[in-house]
Structures are given as structure tokens and as C-alpha cells.
């Protein structure tokens, strides 16, 4: 019991402490790719420290929900992190499956979208409306991509999928896997508010989604929201890394195995983050009403992936 709690706490600390570094590294790499020097990779930690020190300003029109949302959001991210196979294929919440994980993230979306409406500004409403639209349209793709994986591993438990697929040497060459990966990657870009769906670096009214939703937040509230969204990015990249490239994920819990797992994960994340940075540098943001077409495309990929499973039987 004590051991389980320790592992859970270590798990959370790694996810929470690593997330800002990922975002910072992404920014640095992106800046270098376009020829700027850019901030240092650990700049997000400084931003968080600054924000935590500031007094938050809360709009007079808001209800309890606005003030509760940053804490709820952070809690859902922590719980989601506990449910994900990060360093080993045995997450602390061992029963957790991908459906639970996705619905936990929806809890965060639900609260954040409501908080966007709570201040009564048009920006927040616009962000909420767009945010939930993107989240809703991404949902079918996630489920079908999961179906493709779980059909092959014969379980929807995250740890089970990782362990079940790790034994297949030709996994990466399987069309089921490639198609599901492509679909899930696009969904990841949409869910975490990256280009070409949302631009995390802009505050232009007409285009922003996530930034519009959180526009009223300041001080420690903003710090928590930003931190939680960086954890969401880390979570999605970890899922991509461990579900689609399940090699080197230890199935046991122990100091040496976990250290190895951490190194392997860091290497995979570096590759995926580089891919995201290259994509974001090379692509312009899509017009908002072209985003559904992108998501429809990812849905088609996922559907093809599932069909391929049935054809391969």
C-alpha cells in the first residue's frame, strides 16, 4: 500500500515536472528552426514561478465554477497521468483503460469550457464553443483508433495494449498500426491545441481557441491552467510513444527498470516532439472551418485501420 502510493506520487511528480520542460523544449526547437535564438528550454518553469507569485484577478460576474476550474483541471490531469502507462506498462491505476482516460480529459474540457463562459465575455464564449466543437469531433477518431489497437491486443486496458503489442516484431510495418498512428497523431494535435488546429503562440481574436477560453485567468489560476495543458501534451505524446511504439517499456516495477523506462521514454518523446516542431514550423494554421475536414480525414484513417484489422483475420 505504502509502496503503491510512493510509486503513484513518483509517477505524478515525473509527469508534472517534465511537462513544462517538454513545452519549453518545443518552443526552443521551433525558434531554432526558423532561425531565432528563442528562450531557454526551462523558460516555462520561470513563467510558472512568476504566475504563482502573482495575485489572481477574478471577474465579478463569475460563480464558484470559475475559481474551482483550475484546481479541477489539474486534478483530472493528475488522475489521467496516474491512469497512463508512462515508465512501465503497469500504471498506478492498474484498471484504467483508454476510454476512462479520454473521458477524464473530457472532464477537464467540460470545466474549462464552462469557465470560459462564466466571465461573460465574448472571447471566452467563442473559445468555449470552438474548444468543445474540436473535442467533440475528435472523439470518434480516438475511439476507432483505440478499437484498432484493442482488437489486436484483445484488451482495452492501456497496460495490456502495451504488453500485448510489444511482442510483435513487425508491428511498425502493419497497415493497421500505421493508419491508427496517423489518426491518433492528428487527434493529438487537435486535442492539445497545436498547429494546424490552434496556434499556442497567438492571441489573435479570430483564430484562438484554447487561449480565448482561458483569457480571463491570471496569477496562480493561469499557472495551473497552463501547467495542466502542458501535462495534457506530455500525456498525449507519452500515449503515442508507448501505445504505438511499445518497445522498451518495462513490465515490472523496480528502480533499475524504471530508470531504463525513463530513458527509453525520453528518447521516444524527443523524436515525437521534434516531429511536432517540424510540423508546426512547416504548416500554417488551418481556417477554423477547415478543421472539421482535417478531423474527418483522421476519422477516415481510423476507420480504414479498423477495417484492415477485420481483413487481416
Amino acid at each position: 500500500m505504502i509502496g503503491d502510493v510512493t510509486i503513484a506520487v513518483v509517477h505524478v511528480v515525473i509527469m508534472a515536472a517534465g511537462a513544462p520542460l517538454l513545452v519549453g523544449a518545443l518552443r526552443t526547437v521551433k525558434a531554432r528552426l526558423v532561425g531565432r535564438r528563442g528562450p531557454v528550454p526551462w523558460q516555462p518553469y520561470r513563467d510558472l514561478r512568476k504566475l504563482f507569485a502573482k495575485t489572481p484577478v477574478v471577474s465579478t460576474t463569475t460563480s464558484w465554477l470559475f475559481r474551482a476550474t483550475p484546481y479541477v483541471l489539474m486534478s483530472t490531469m493528475i488522475t489521467a497521468a496516474l491512469a497512463a502507462p508512462v515508465l512501465s506498462s503497469r500504471p498506478p491505476l492498474a484498471f484504467a483503460g483508454i476510454i476512462l482516460l479520454m473521458y477524464l480529459l473530457l472532464v477537464g474540457t467540460f470545466f474549462l469550457a464552462l469557465a470560459g463562459l462564466d466571465a461573460g465575455s465574448a472571447f471566452g464564449g467563442m473559445g468555449s464553443s470552438r474548444g468543445v466543437a474540436v473535442a467533440a469531433l475528435a472523439e470518434p477518431t480516438v475511439m476507432l483508433a483505440v478499437l484498432a489497437l484493442s482488437l489486436r491486443a484483445n484488451t482495452t486496458n492501456l497496460g495490456g495494449v502495451v504488453e500485448g503489442l510489444a511482442h510483435e516484431p513487425l508491428l511498425a510495418a502493419n497497415p493497421v498500426h500505421l493508419l491508427a498512428f496517423a489518426a491518433f497523431f492528428i487527434v493529438m494535435l487537435a486535442e492539445t491545441g497545436r498547429l494546424p488546429v490552434d496556434n499556442p503562440a497567438t492571441h489573435l481574436e479570430l483564430t484562438m481557441i484554447h487561449e480565448a477560453m482561458v483569457l480571463e485567468y491570471s496569477g496562480r489560476h493561469l499557472a495551473l491552467v497552463e501547467w495542466a495543458s502542458s501535462m495534457k501534451l506530455l500525456l498525449f505524446l507519452t500515449l503515442l510513444a508507448n501505445l504505438f511504439f511499445p518497445w522498451g517499456v518495462p513490465a515490472v516495477l523496480g528502480p533499475s527498470a524504471l530508470l531504463l523506462g525513463a530513458l527509453v521514454l525520453a528518447a521516444k518523446l524527443a523524436v515525437l516532439a521534434l516531429a511536432v516542431a517540424l510540423l508546426e514550423t512547416a504548416m500554417a494554421k488551418l481556417r477554423l472551418f477547415r478543421v472539421p475536414e482535417l478531423l474527418a480525414g483522421s476519422f477516415a484513417l481510423a476507420l480504414l485501420s479498423v477495417t484492415a484489422v477485420f481483413l487481416q483475420r
Partner: protein, 635 residues
């Protein structure tokens, strides 16, 4: 006087809940009183399935009747119809022959009709008319099915049908099943048989809407289950695939209609269509699995469907009661005239919030458990060997996932526009909290939503037993350590209690760390940032219509929105605008493609037939003579 009747209704509900629970746990009896009604007499039977629905009707009647004390306790009219409504709904699942069933079913329809048209407004009159037509069209289909089956099996007792069904020809059974499905699904309100539902539920008083939506439409599902699993025996695969597709259409279509509606209660009505769709997906999956020989998976899908039936009764009653409390306080159901209620009506707002989170299937509340179970049943379609069947299941999974996402959007809109930010009208500004009895009713239903979610491991056992009485198989759901549900061995598992504990622990951790780090000072309160404008008014807020706009654009093939902009300019210059009118009504595909042509055809036929009615007795006598001669000639 009315108060006493509502107390009686509460007690009746409690008695029903007790009998029903006992029935679910295995208490079975039959009652036959031949002299009460003609053609077979009164025949009642309690079994597990009937027990579940009796418990559901009873359980939902308790909070709704307590709520009605505050909502309608001083009005004399409608109280007797209310008790009749509850009593007839308790009788429907117990009926065990055609006559008893028909009487209970019709009594239920009539009592709800009376409750619906009680207000005597044009709206409720129209809603009542459509409801009466649809419900009787459904009854006609049901009675034809029952009479055919009665004639072919030689008995009007349901128990005999189950025994004789395997001897019938497959085509015969499919014909009867189609009639039953039409009749029962019209009551359940799936698309395209739903037209009465979004009219009737908003027009009815809110405690009535709560029961109509929470349990009455479920009795349509009860009938569907009875007919598909009990009366007609094993059927072909296409029963299941048809229901899967119907359910998928109802789920996605229902939530899409709910998403763009700005009438709070009509939004909830459309969301009921969505939830019925989810249940029908589960039932369809169960039928398809059973036909393909995968009994354990059929049992899983059926349990998921029953779980969702129970959940929907809890959160939809809750939401309708909260919406009723809003109407009570503000006199309007228009979302564009609400807002700011979270601070003025904290109890009602909290109730609506819990209901919204539950219906959006957010863990660890109850909606999540049943949707999760449905997903797990559908995901296991790989065990079926037919690729066509696999494809139907895959589409159902996608539809269910899309429904889940859209439901979150829909209830963000309902709660966010209706309850948050600044009030959009003076009525919303001066809103006051509902009286105690209404709050008590809402708290009961809200508590049920939480309990059904956290207590999933307890709730699932009796539901599994009910489902197993229809599809006998080895239990596909087991309960493990830490209140964990295991589905099909190691295929999937979840523990809502552990999720709740983890969420609470994480929250405590965040608050604790922030307190230790000293970052917990009081926030400063200031107005919303508004690009330098002087005054914040509700006109700066996002509206419900604007919120739904991305969806209107994405799904424009479904909504086919029309924009009407009329600008009346001053005669001197077109730049001086006197009046501007903007409307963007949505047109419903079903109305245009199905009911429009049917309606026109009926009217045309009626016009032609009117020519026969000359008003002259001599002509009528000639008709009688002609028919008589014709009959003689045929005979």
C-alpha cells in the same frame, strides 16, 4: 387536497419501488382476476424484467411527486391524472395478457395526455394533438402485432407466446417483431418516430416532463425488450443490426437537435432521444450477439442497456426538475433570456450541474458507467465472423463516441448559457430559489446520479440478473478488489470509486502543495476584461445560438439552416436602418422528407374523400345499399 394526492403519489411510488426491487431480486408472482375486465380478465405477473421497470417507475415517482408538492401543490387540476399516470405506468410492466396490457398502456397515454393539455395554451394543444396521433398510431401497430401473435399462438397470455414462438415460421415472427418495434419505438421516441417528443415534453408541466422523459419513454424500451427477448424467442441477425443503426441515428440526431435548440426543456427532450438511441444501440448489439451465438456478449450489451435506462431515468428527471425550477422562477424557457442563475439559484444550479455532468458521461458519475459498458460490449464485435456485421458495429462505436463528445458540448451550452455569467433578462435577474420541496426532489435525484456512479459494482449485480433472465449465459461482468468492474475477463476494467478517490486525492494534493508554498492568497475581484469598453452588459455575452454555430456549420447537411435577414431602411437613405430582423430557423430533415409528404398526402386524400360527404341522406342510403350488395356478391 391536491397536496394529499401528491403525498399519496409519493407513497405509491415508494411501494412500487419496493415491489420492483424485490422483483429484480427474484420475487415472482402472478395474479389473475377474470371478472374485472372482459376478454381475458386482469392478469399480472412479476418477474425480474418487470421488477426492474416497476422499480424504475416507482423510484422516479418519489422525487417527482415531492417536487410536484412545491411546483403544483396548490393547483387542484392535474393531481388525479398524476396518480393515474403513475399507477398505469406501474401496471404496464406487470401486465401479462393482451387486454391488461392494452388497458394499462392506453391509460398511461391518456393520463399523460390530460397532464399535457392541462395548461390550455395553443402550444400544449398542438403538442397534445401530435402526441395523441403518434401514440395511437403506435398503439395500432402494437395491437395488430398482439392480435396476430394471439391468433397464431391461440392465446392472449404472454407466457404462452414465449412457449409457442419457436414453432412459428421465421417470417411470421419477423413481421410481428417489426410491428412491435414500430409501436414500442414510437413510444420510446427514436428518430423518425420522435416528432411528438420535442413538442410534448416542453409543453407539459416540469414534474410531468420529468416522468414522461425519465420513465414513460422507457416503457417503450421495456416493450421492445419483452418482445425481442421474451415473446418472440430468438430472431435473425437483422433485428439486431436494424436496431443498431436506428439507435445510432437516434443518438447522433437527437444530440445534434439538442445542440442547436435554445429552449431549455426542448433541449432536454431532444437529449432524451439521444439517450434512448444509446439504449437502443445496446439492445441491438445484444440481439446481434445473440443471433450470432455469442450469448455472453449479448448479456453484456443488454446489461449496459439496462444500466443506461436506469441512469437516464435519474439524470433526466433531475434535469427536467431543475429546468422546471428555472421556469418557475423566471417564467421563460428561452436560453437567450436566462443566465446568471448560478448565483441567484445555487441549489437549482447545482442540481442542473450534476445532471449535466452525469448526462455528459463524465467519470465518476453514473452516465459514464453505462456508456463505458456499452463501449466495451460493442468493442468486442471482433468475435463475430461476419465482416458486414463488424462494419455495422464499428459505425455504432463511432456514432456513440461522437454522441458522447456532442453531449458534452450540448450540456456546456445548457449550463454555461443558462446559468453562468450575467442574466440576459430582467426575469432572470430577479429569479429566486425554488421552495424546499422542489429542492428536496432535485437532491434525491442528484444523489441517485452520484450513487449509481460510485456504487457501480453494487448496482450492476441485480441488473446482470435481470439481463440473465432474458439471455442466460455466464456472467461477463465480475467484481474484483477495490470496487473494480471486470468485463469479459481481462478485456477491460474500471473502478469509479477509485477514480473518485484519485480525483479527490489529486485535488487535496494540489491545494496542499499550494498552501505549503504560500500561494493561496485571496484573489482580487475586478470586472471582466473587455478591450476598454466602459460597461459590461449581458449583450456582450456569447449567446446559445452563437455557441452552437460551429456545429451548425459543420453539420449543415443535417440542419440545412436558413438565414433570414430583413432590414427596413429609412425611405430617405438606406444607411438609416429602422428595424432589423434576423432569424435562422433550422429545418428538420424528418419533417421535410417524411412527415411533410405524408401530411400532404393525407390532406389530399381527405379533400377528395370530402366529395363523398354530400350531406344528403339519400346518397348515404345509396352508399349503404352499394356496400351491402358488394358484400353479398363477395360472400
Amino acid at each position: 387536497m391536491a397536496t394529499a394526492i401528491y403525498v399519496v403519489a409519493t407513497l405509491l411510488g415508494a411501494a412500487g419501488a419496493a415491489i420492483g426491487l424485490a422483483g429484480m431480486l427474484g420475487w415472482a408472482w402472478t395474479v389473475d382476476v377474470a371478472w374485472v375486465v372482459p376478454l381475458g380478465g386482469l392478469a399480472l405477473a412479476l418477474d425480474r424484467l418487470a421488477g426492474l421497470f416497476v422499480a424504475l417507475v416507482g423510484g422516479a415517482s418519489i422525487p417527482a411527486s415531492i417536487y410536484a408538492l412545491g411546483y403544483a401543490g396548490r393547483q387542484r387540476r392535474g393531481a388525479v391524472a398524476w396518480v393515474t399516470f403513475i399507477a398505469s405506468m406501474l401496471l404496464v410492466p406487470l401486465a401479462s395478457n393482451t387486454m391488461t396490457f392494452a388497458i394499462a398502456w392506453e391509460l398511461m397515454s391518456l393520463a399523460s395526455y390530460v397532464l399535457l393539455v392541462r395548461r390550455r395554451t395553443i402550444e400544449s394543444a398542438q403538442a397534445g394533438w401530435v402526441y395523441a396521433v403518434m401514440t395511437h398510431a403506435g398503439l395500432a401497430a402494437l395491437l395488430s402485432g398482439m392480435l396476430l401473435l394471439g391468433a397464431w399462438t391461440g392465446s392472449d397470455r404472454f407466457a404462452d407466446w414465449a412457449a409457442a414462438a419457436p414453432t412459428l415460421h421465421a417470417g411470421t415472427r419477423s413481421l410481428v417483431w417489426t410491428l412491435f418495434a414500430l409501436g414500442f419505438l414510437a413510444k420510446a421516441g427514436v428518430i423518425p418516430l420522435h416528432v411528438w417528443l420535442p413538442l410534448a415534453h416542453p409543453a407539459a408541466p416540469s414534474h410531468v416532463s420529468a416522468l414522461m422523459s425519465g420513465v414513460m419513454i422507457k416503457l417503450g424500451l421495456y416493450g421492445l425488450l419483452r418482445a425481442s427477448f421474451d415473446w418472440l424467442g430468438a430472431g435473425p441477425v437483422w433485428w439486431g443490426t436494424t436496431l443498431l443503426l436506428i439507435g445510432a441515428v437516434a443518438a447522433v440526431g437527437g444530440v445534434l437537435y439538442a445542440l442547436v435548440d435554445r429552449d431549455l426543456k426542448r433541449l432536454l427532450a431532444y437529449s432524451s432521444i439521444e439517450n434512448v438511441g444509446i439504449v437502443v444501440i445496446g439492445v441491438g448489439a445484444a440481439l446481434a450477439f445473440r443471433a450470432a451465438g455469442a450469448e455472453a456478449l449479448a448479456l453484456l450489451a443488454l446489461t449496459a442497456a439496462l444500466y443506461h435506462v436506469v441512469n437516464h431515468a435519474a439524470f433526466k428527471s433531475l434535469l427536467f426538475m431543475a429546468a422546471g425550477s428555472v421556469v418557475h422562477a423566471t417564467g421563460t424557457r428561452d436560453l437567450e433570456a436566462l443566465g446568471g442563475l448560478a448565483r441567484r439559484m445555487p441549489w437549482t444550479a447545482a442540481a442542473f450541474f450534476v445532471g449535466s455532468a452525469a448526462i455528459a458521461a463524465l467519470p465518476p458519475l453514473n452516465g459514464f458507467v453505462s456508456e463505458w459498458l456499452t463501449f466495451q460490449a460493442l468493442l468486442q464485435n471482433v468475435h463475430l465472423a461476419d465482416p458486414g456485421l463488424n462494419l455495422v458495429f464499428t459505425l455504432a462505436i463511432a456514432a456513440l463516441a461522437l454522441t458522447g463528445g456532442l453531449a458534452v458540448a450540448c450540456f456546456v451550452k445548457a449550463y454555461g448559457i443558462g446559468f453562468l455569467a450575467l442574466p440576459r433578462s430582467t426575469a432572470a435577474e430577479s429569479a429566486e430559489e425554488a421552495p424546499v420541496s422542489m429542492r428536496a426532489g432535485m437532491m434525491l435525484a442528484g444523489g441517485a446520479c452520484v450513487a449509481l456512479g460510485l456504487g457501480a459494482t453494487v448496482v450492476v449485480q441485480p441488473l446482470l440478473a435481470v439481463a440473465a433472465s432474458l439471455v442466460p449465459a455466464a456472467a461477463p461482468i465480475t467484481v474484483g478488489a477495490g470496487l473494480t468492474l471486470y468485463v469479459s475477463g481481462g478485456f477491460a476494467s474500471v473502478s469509479t470509486a477509485a477514480v473518485a478517490a484519485a480525483l479527490a486525492g489529486a485535488l487535496a494534493l494540489v491545494l496542499g502543495v499550494l498552501t505549503v508554498a504560500g500561494a493561496r492568497g485571496r484573489p482580487r475581484r475586478y470586472e471582466t476584461w473587455g478591450c476598454g469598453r466602459l460597461l459590461q452588459t449581458s449583450r456582450m455575452e456569447y449567446t446559445a445560438t452563437a455557441f452552437a454555430n460551429p456545429f451548425t456549420r459543420v453539420f449543415d447537411f443535417f440542419y440545412r439552416p436558413v438565414r433570414r435577414l430583413e432590414i427596413e431602411a429609412h425611405p430617405e437613405s438606406r444607411f438609416f436602418v429602422r428595424r432589423m430582423a434576423y432569424a435562422n430557423p433550422t429545418r428538420f430533415i424528418v419533417d421535410d422528407w417524411l412527415y411533410g409528404p405524408v401530411d400532404r398526402a393525407l390532406r389530399a386524400t381527405a379533400r377528395r374523400a370530402a366529395g363523398l360527404q354530400s350531406g344528403s341522406p339519400n346518397v348515404y342510403l345509396a352508399y349503404v345499399l352499394a356496400v351491402l350488395l358488394l358484400l353479398l356478391a363477395v360472400a
